[in-house]
């Protein structure tokens, strides 16, 4: 791992006693998800694309791990592979030490787009998982109501998804995934389409849920603040092909609050992420070259805005 030479002892690596102890405790827990040398190639009409190369990491029980990386680095491919929606070309994905084969209710997933079933009411959406897994109607309904209560949407149990706001829909999607009591919750930019205010509420809400139930979370985002605010550890990917660049232990202590956005640990971590994702010496990526606009002046020479 290359380190910036003119910054000695980067402070994102310094952890307070409490934080260090917490990571120590996490390391004692059992491994829920293990990814070993995972590789994924797509063969498309334009030829082969290597989306993921040699990805390895472990996630332990009740850990909250975020994945960030530049656009197109394979974040979605990674999470879809873990969910079993995409097959992998090489390596292994182990859930509780058993290889993953196809999608299953032991791995819940929340998508960025609204993936609720539009023909079912909110309650029926949440009941869907239990019913598919052979639980009876009454039991499924009780579970659904409990989880709707947990995400604060009891009042909307009989509404249809199109009657809800974006934030509420994602809360239903979270409840729908959690009611199955999966071992891990996979989230692919779940708040990406929400406005800033709703998004920050949802982040706090998600942390509350996570604290109260036995769930491990793998969360994809391209928002650095979101990643630092939520995560125990952040997996930073680089693009073309998608490879692990660094797995950062976030030194910001828990419990988290929005007040910490300006704390020293937070800023140090953010600086490090910026450095990794937007390198200081801008080596132009292929994409930048392709989309670089050519500026032509359309206004009068004297008509300046600056």
């Amino acid at each position: 791992m290359s380190m910036n030479p003119d910054r000695l002892a980067p402070s994102y690596l310094e952890q307070s006693e409490a934080v260090r102890a917490r990571f120590e405790r996490i390391r004692q827990r059992e491994v829920i998800l293990e990814v070993r040398n995972l590789g994924k190639r797509f063969s498309s009409a334009q030829g082969e694309v290597e989306a993921l190369r040699d990805i390895s990491f472990q996630i332990r029980r009740r850990e909250f791990v975020c994945v960030i990386g530049p656009s197109g680095c394979g974040k979605s491919t990674l999470i879809r592979t873990l969910a079993g929606l995409e097959s992998h070309s090489s390596g292994e994905v182990l859930l509780d030490n058993r290889p993953v084969d196809g999608p299953g209710s032991d791995r819940g997933m929340v998508f960025q787009g609204y993936s609720l079933f539009p023909w079912l009411t909110v309650k029926k959406n949440v009941m869907f998982g239990p019913e598919m897994n052979g639980r009876g109607g009454d039991e499924a309904e009780q579970d659904a109501l409990t989880w709707l209560d947990l995400v604060g949407l009891s009042k909307f149990a009989n509404a249809y998804p199109h009657q809800l706001s974006g934030g509420m829909r994602q809360r239903v999607a979270i409840a729908r995934a959690l009611v199955n009591q999966p071992r891990i919750l996979l989230m692919d930019e779940p708040f990406g389409a929400l406005d800033a205010q709703t998004r920050s509420k949802m982040q706090s809400h998600l942390l509350d849920i996570w604290k109260n139930i036995d769930i491990t979370v793998l969360f994809i985002t391209h928002d650095l603040d979101e990643a630092i605010f939520l995560a125990d550890r952040i997996l930073v990917l680089k693009a073309h092909p998608g490879e692990v660049q660094e797995l950062i232990e976030v030194p910001v202590p828990r419990p988290r609050s929005p007040g910490q956005f300006s704390s020293a640990e937070f800023l140090a971590t953010k600086a490090r992420l910026e450095e990794l994702i937007h390198p200081p010496m801008p080596t132009e990526s292929e994409e930048d070259q392709v989309v670089k606009p050519r500026m032509i002046r359309f206004t009068d020479v004297d008509d300046n805005v600056e």
Binding site: A83, G84, L85, G102, P103, G104, S105, R107, G108, M109, F111, G113, S115, L116, F117, P118, W119, L120, F128, G129, M132, N133, Y160, P161, H162, A173, R176, A177, N180, L186
Partner: protein
Amino acid sequence: MGTIAKWFAARARLGAQQRTILGLGSFLLPLLVWCMVSYVPFVWHPKVVVESPGGVDYFQVGMLVDKAVFKDEVANMRAANLLLPQGKPANPIYLPAPHEVARAFYTAFTAKPEQKDLPWLHQSLWHSIQVIFWGFVISSVFGVPLGILSGTYAALGRLNEPFVEFFRYLPAPAFGALAVAILGIYDGPKIAIIVIGTFFQQVLIIANTTRKLDATILEAAMTLGTRGLKLLTRVVVPAILPDLYRDQRILLGWAWTYLIVAELIGTSTGITWFITQQARYQHFDNVYAAIMIIGIIGFGSDLLLGRLGRRLFPWDRSQDHG
């Protein structure tokens, strides 16, 4: 912005009142044109109806003659110093005025048909509706499931769609003679023509609708533990139901267009038989009434089905203002 400018703003939404006014207008405009042509003597009116023959020996009261012929005869009579014929502008027999068609509408249901062998209009209609109904039901029983399966399972789709695609270019009426040979001369071949005309389009359209289903919905269901046939019955089918319903409405409209051809096959029956008989006796007012009633039944049933659809699928947003 002026009212007119507002109405012509691209893709602007119309208010309820505007929609009603414009919707009525869409019917009133053609009616207005028809009234103009029928009641304003100097608009079109290429014929003259003879009111008194004067000195023209072959003219009779009520006879329709070309304007030019009438003019010639007037000139002839004047030259021969005979009594001038009298007449007023008229339209050809095949264009009755709105009030005549309206009257025909009424009498078709109230007065016994003049000719003994002619069925009542409602009897003809009922027969036609039965033919359509069975044609559409038989086509749907096979076409809908096949379409859904083809759209869900790529292999199944590939196995039938190229052939279906080819077959749909074969005009259904071309199978008329064959259908008669196989199914006899009564309703069998008529229903068969409607089935042939509907089925192949149906498979392709419904397969396409099924394929347009958002993959995320399916993937979400899979991550919730749905697999196998349940994916089809609990996810694909309910998800596409509103679109499927819309497709069926459109296909039903097409089935109506095959009706007239279908009814000419074997022994002519139903509304087509009614229309051809009335035309033979030159009762064009009845012909128009019958044609219009097809339109009214088709359009009316579609409106009803549209209403029903909004009831059945309250979650379907694309039916708002549909």
